[in-house]
């Protein structure tokens, strides 16, 4: 019984982390139909920016309690430097191309950004443990969990809920849904589609960077950090249905629980099982469990 409880707690924490990491990917695909490999780069950028800025902050002796804000600011700064430049400078000229070709273009950008990160931050690992240790830990059934993980769960709920509210409850959200449905007609109706694309790409990348910067205190930030997160968030998003917000949540929960089950009961299959679920979903429901009806166009 205790172990089952541990499975659930681990699963929820991992799901929350996955959801934050994958949310931006599904948003960008939903709006722009881009399977965005640079998502992993922004995750790594966020992690590096978060680790270095927070390290600087703490080294100066500023209050450690504010380091959570510093992590946020670092992700925002990193995203604002790169995301708008990439969308305006390169991607916007490519929208007419095939989805697969755009995927390859983002792959090329990913390769470039990998080295940009190395040029800026070097290849030595960064550690910042303070934000992680500061909050102490809580106990569930005799197992101690760092309270920091609860922060991740809270962030996941805030981001997911906030995005859902934006899409359904605000004027711009409704306009964005119109753009998703049919960019051409939206343009004809006077919607500035280009600006929506710019904002979507920036915001989606910001979500990846935030996932990175809030993960930074829990790991050592090393080159190649973004490589693994790409396939992992692809798996989450594909399981739920590319471009679907509830789908990303469902995908994150499935992957989170499945992984935590396998870690506790059958550690040999930990990685295998995630991609097995992804392949099964693609085989049985290629558009994902939460697939949206494809609106028919003339």
């Amino acid at each position: 019984m205790d172990q089952l409880l541990a499975v659930v707690v681990d699963g929820v924490i991992y799901s929350a982390w996955l959801f934050i990491a994958a949310l931006g990917l599904t948003l960008i695909y939903g709006v722009m139909k881009i399977v965005n490999v640079t998502h992993g780069s922004f995750y790594a950028l966020g992690a590096y920016a978060g680790a270095s800025l927070t390290g600087f902050w703490l080294a100066r002796g500023y209050p450690a309690a504010l380091s959570y804000v510093v992590l946020f600011v670092a992700a925002v700064l990193a995203t604002l430097v790169f995301a708008p430049a990439i969308e305006r400078g390169i991607l916007r000229f490519m929208y007419a191309k095939d989805e697969v070709v755009i995927l390859l273009i983002t792959y090329a950008l990913f390769l470039i950004l990998e080295d940009v990160i190395k040029l800026i931050w070097g290849v030595n690992p960064y550690f910042i443990a303070e934000p992680y240790a500061l909050l102490g830990s809580f106990e569930v059934a005799g197992m101690a969990y760092p309270t920091y993980n609860l922060l991740l769960v809270a962030l996941a709920i805030v981001f997911g809920g906030g995005l859902a509210w934006f899409l359904t409850g605000t004027r711009n959200g409704k306009l964005l849904r119109a753009v998703i449905h049919d960019p051409e007609v939206s343009r004809a109706m006077g919607v500035n589609v280009g600006r929506f694309y710019l904002v979507t790409f920036t915001f989606g990348s910001l979500l990846a960077a935030l996932a990175g910067s809030y993960t930074a205190p829990t790991v050592s930030v090393v080159p190649g950090l973004g490589v693994e997160i790409i396939v992992l968030s692809f798996a989450v998003v594909v399981i739920g249905g590319l471009g679907s917000l509830p789908g990303a949540a469902l995908g994150a929960v499935i992957v989170g629980i499945v992984r935590s089950l396998s870690v506790h009961y059958l550690p040999q299959v930990e990685l295998f099982v995630i991609y097995f679920v992804m392949a099964m979903v693609l085989a049985l429901r290629p558009r994902g469990l939460f697939s949206l009806e494809e609106p028919r166009k003339i």
């Binding site: 399977v35 390169i90 095939d98 989805e99 697969v100 070709v101 995927l103 390859l104 273009i105 792959y107 090329a108 950008l109 990913f110 390769l111 470039i112 950004l113 990998e114 080295d115 940009v116 190395k118 040029l119 290849v123 490589v227 790409i230 396939v231 692809f234 798996a235 594909v238 590319l242 550690p267 040999q268 299959v269 930990e270 990685l271 295998f272 099982v273 995630i274 991609y275 097995f276 992804m278 392949a279 693609l282 085989a283 290629p286």
Partner: protein, 306 residues
């Protein structure tokens, strides 16, 4: 005038004749280029039909592990047997998986092939018998029961690789001229019309997928015996990315292009990595970006011959 078979024959003669005078490192680069070129040749078949496999590393790795298993469990180290085993295992796997994948196009084809290759990666990293993340070493290559002396192993492997690669290129070149081979651009352009003509796009894609996998398996076995070591990273998605880069660099115009691109990639990789280890990926990325935008036919697309 059939220029491709002539050019291939010339390449074979040059490689075989020049081999003994090449330094060891150059032979290594050329052999690895043959291995990667075989994989890219298969990817080219799929690219011609508009399909991008983001998981060709699956078959590359399967081929390598099939070759490795031969040595590890049966003590076989013959290059030709290793390549046969690699190609056969990969083709068999692709035949089964092909029933599923041949139904997919575009982004979903890419994502499903990616998922499948990551499944193999996930299995291999946790498999103690196959060395988990460290992989294991391959026996020193032999050829038809002969154990070449240390100076000649590289040459023996390279010569075999050259023969196999040229043979594969000839077969694929021939295949491209059959009705089934010629269907690829039609599938890319308009699949519904292909079906109206009475051809089965799904069958054509399935055949291409199996051929591509067999080539990747042979390439994997060749890479394994050349490098002397295999590990699960051969199935990781970044390996698939490398192959896609090579295939796009070469373009789809000619069966020699994937090999030329693989050699170029190997040279860029070696020199750029030596000169500046922290920016070589960036140069690859920039090259890929420029290729897609300015040379969508690949570096060799300008040569009009097939």
């Amino acid at each position: 005038m059939k220029r491709t078979p002539l050019a291939l024959a010339a390449i074979l003669v040059v490689v075989l004749a020049a081999g003994p005078w090449l330094p060891q490192w150059a032979m290594f680069i050329v052999t690895v280029a043959f291995a990667r070129g075989l994989v890219a040749l298969g990817l080219m078949l799929l690219l011609r039909a508009g399909l991008v496999s983001f998981g060709q590393a699956l078959y590359f790795c399967l081929g390598a592990y099939a070759a490795g298993a031969l040595g590890r469990f049966l003590g076989v180290s013959d290059i030709v047997l290793e390549m046969l085993a690699g190609g056969a295992v990969a083709a068999l796997a692709a035949f089964v998986l092909g029933f599923l994948l041949a139904r997919y196009r575009g982004i979903f084809f890419g994502l499903l092939s990616l998922a499948l290759s990551m499944i193999l990666y996930g299995l291999l990293v946790k498999n103690e018998a196959l060395g988990s993340t460290d992989g294991f070493n391959i026996l020193r290559s032999t050829l038809f029961g002969i154990r070449p002396s240390a100076d000649w192993v590289r040459y023996a492997v390279m010569a075999t690789a050259a023969v196999v690669a040229v043979g594969a290129a000839l077969v694929v070149d021939r295949y491209l001229q059959t009705p089934l081979g010629r269907l690829a651009p039609a599938i890319k352009d308009n699949e519904i019309r292909v079906e109206y003509m009475g051809a089965s796009a799904r069958y054509a894609v399935h055949v291409k997928y199996v051929i591509a996998a067999a080539l990747a398996g042979i390439g994997g076995a060749l890479a394994a015996t050349t490098v002397g070591h295999i590990d699960p990273d051969m199935a990781y998605w970044t390996t698939s990315g490398e192959f896609i880069f090579i295939a796009i660099l070469g373009g789809t115009s000619n069966v020699i292009a994937p090999f030329a691109a693989a050699l170029l990639y190997g040279l860029i990789h070696t020199t750029a990595y030596d000169l500046s280890p922290n920016t070589w990926q960036m140069s690859l990325g920039i090259a890929l970006l420029l290729l897609i935008v300015f040379l969508p036919q690949g570096l060799f697309g300008r040569f009009g011959w097939r």
